[in-house]
């Protein structure tokens, strides 16, 4: 079971995708997208993990060493989280507009495009 963390990440992405496809509410779909994106955080963290290695932060008590968890994937994860937050904000703003214009937030009821 030396790969289980990768499967947790994959499962989160699949569960998120399943939720988006079955969603009957745009806010619910946005949260499902956040769950799918959480899977990418888990994948990045899992790739960078090293057993019994400390965090890549040094100081007077933690002398600089190469034997730390991978800081590159952690910084990529930070970028990932920022992008996820901005996407969520935009999608929620769009949901508000759709609710105003169509009086519904159910994607199945949004059948016609309106100018």
């Amino acid at each position: 079971m030396s790969h289980y963390a990768y499967f947790v990440a994959g499962a989160l992405v699949l569960v998120g995708g399943f939720g988006i496809a079955r969603s009957r509410n745009l806010v619910h779909a946005t949260i499902c997208l956040s769950i799918a994106q959480a899977g990418t955080y888990v994948l990045l963290m899992a790739v960078g993990y090293q057993t019994n290695a400390p965090a890549p932060v040094f100081g007077s008590t933690a002398k600089p060493t190469k034997q730390v968890v991978d800081p590159v994937v952690q910084s990529l994860c930070l970028t990932d989280i920022v992008v996820s937050a901005t996407v969520t904000a935009l999608l929620l703003a769009l949901s508000i507009q759709i609710a105003k214009r169509h009086d519904t937030v159910d994607p199945d009821e949004l059948v016609a495009l309106q100018g």
Binding site: G17, A46, Q50, D70, P71, V72, T79, L90, Q97, K100
Partner: protein
Amino acid sequence: MSRTARMWLLGLGLIGVGVCYALAALDLPSFGSTFHPYRDMAVPAAVAHGAANAVTSIVFDQRGLDTLVEEIILFGSVIGAVALLRPSREEQEHGPSPMGRVLEPTRLLGYVMLPTTLVIGVDVVTHGHLTPGGGFQGGVILATGLHLLYVAGSYQALDRLRPVALFEHGEAIGAAGFAILGIAGILTSAAYLTNMLSYGTLGQMFSAGTVPILNAIVGVEVASGVIVLLARFFDQAVLLGHQRESISVPQPGELR
């Protein structure tokens, strides 16, 4: 497409993606192994630049250009959301509807936590190159801390202490400051966003060159951006909310 057909298609797609992903994951180095070639190059580079926190060194020094683009994405999305959430012409802004009563313990906790959270936010931003944290994390803490005023007090209290126009300028200054500091890198040395200041001693407050400055700039930008964004959502929820009570939003129990 009918709902049943869509579910079949979804099932096929999920199984296909799942199988391909599982095959790919089995080929990865095993979880927790010592094989990290990027770390072996990035950590010595961070230490050579006097940054105690290797993650912040990568974000603001080694991958500085990526972070500039990331900051522009944040800037753009705030502009996009603000444009989408503009009250339309027929939606005249009414005064906020009267708030419900706030429990005394909630109020006390809010007023204790508000200054504490703001201090923690400033601490996380200014020590981003020394301890875990940085401009992005600290900025979000600062912005959420300010909104404790809404939880503990009222929307009017929040509105008085949160001049949105000021934060709109703060966001623009943050985005521009990062780009301008990058140009300073061209003028003093060879490339955009070069870390051209003295690296100092690892672990000191003034170390890691431009990293703490970029941290502070990003902290201002993120805090302002989140405040502006939440202010627009608040406008929709508090000022215009009672106009849209007729919309049929499904109740929690109806969510499928």
